[in-house]
Symmetry: C2
Subunit: 212 residues, 2 copies
Amino acid sequence: MRRTKADAEKTRENILATAEQLFLRNGVAHTSLEQVARASGVTRGAVYWHFQNKSHLLDEMLNQVRPRREQLAERLNAPTAGHPLQNLRDLFVELMAGLAGNEQKRNLLTILLLRCEFTDELSDARERHTDFINHFIALSEEQFERGRARLRPGISPRLAARLLHATLIGMLSDRLRDPGLFDTLAEAPAMIDTLFSGLLVDWQIAEQRASA
Amino acid sequence: MRRTKADAEKTRENILATAEQLFLRNGVAHTSLEQVARASGVTRGAVYWHFQNKSHLLDEMLNQVRPRREQLAERLNAPTAGHPLQNLRDLFVELMAGLAGNEQKRNLLTILLLRCEFTDELSDARERHTDFINHFIALSEEQFERGRARLRPGISPRLAARLLHATLIGMLSDRLRDPGLFDTLAEAPAMIDTLFSGLLVDWQIAEQRASA
DNA sequence: TGTTTTACATACCGATTCGCTTGTAAACAA
DNA sequence: TTGTTTACAAGCGAATCGGTATGTAAAACA
């Protein structure tokens, strides 16, 4: 009872979705491909047919939502863009909002940050992750460089960029570990504006804050 | 050839130190007690004699450096303490400095943040960790509450506390993933002061910053 | 001095683990 | 209609896992 091409694609996507749930619940290392197969209603044969091994499976899961490198740069340097710093701020809020509104993104980031051991076995995923982070920091640094005049004295663009990234990661990390901790969507703007107020001498808080 | 009590204690500590290295290098789940035993020059018998299982082994590793709950509170509310906010700021810098100067603390935090899947198996460690985080946030919130008048309008003590914690975790996370990313010890004060400048209306930067 | 306890090593257990090979029925191409 | 390929299922094998049970020599104690 061999499946048609379309059926095979469904099988593949089903395996991905199932693995996502299992990885999220039990951790990557603690999930065997046998478990993935069973939960997907297939055997390991199917899993190994579609994916080389667990590492590649995870990698393709992440590829589903991983923003392409250029995407961030395009977004920041678009011709329609306003001030670089305002741009950077908006991107930050967008990233948080995108996460709040997309369960899959939330799941995958949770897996990356909390349910996954960055060991040699997963070196591919690990490298790409670090790479993306450094790219993000470099891009942010560029933006701060352009708005250098507005930086408080003693704060270099690089330091600003790293502080921005640390805050981003920290907020994500906290929020993913304890989803009830705060309302990301509502509070993210206040947090980023607060940070920018510290980084810049003349930051105007554009958005209305929830004052509680 | 049974060992003396002192020898046994050495064995135990040796196992702990060896496991720390293996966990750090290969991740907790990817390290078997067999590997720990071999690398320690003993057999699994010894490991199981000293520790119930891997989870308890990890737990006792963390207990070596885990600050006690009261410790933070005492530190913040000491009679000799100055202004609550200055206190909080100094604590932050101290925590970062303690990490920069203590390899074991760095290792264990790296294991916790990057080499460990928070799954049911390790629920003990996980709970204690979350507990500690919430405690830290609550304490920070208290301090901000005391200095509430100095908070920028629209920023609640709770939001300030969470932003502070996010920044702390983010800085640690970044630094542990990529040790060359920045010089924690040197830049931590600048980062925290920047954040405080954003949180407070009148924050005076006390320390000299490395301006580069 | 004799007995008990300690600090392990050794051995065994059933349960998984991954990776590979082989089987197979049906889809698809010629 | 007849190969050929596809999309898996099923089975194999060696390794390894954690947990436990048992053996043992020497330390600790009475």
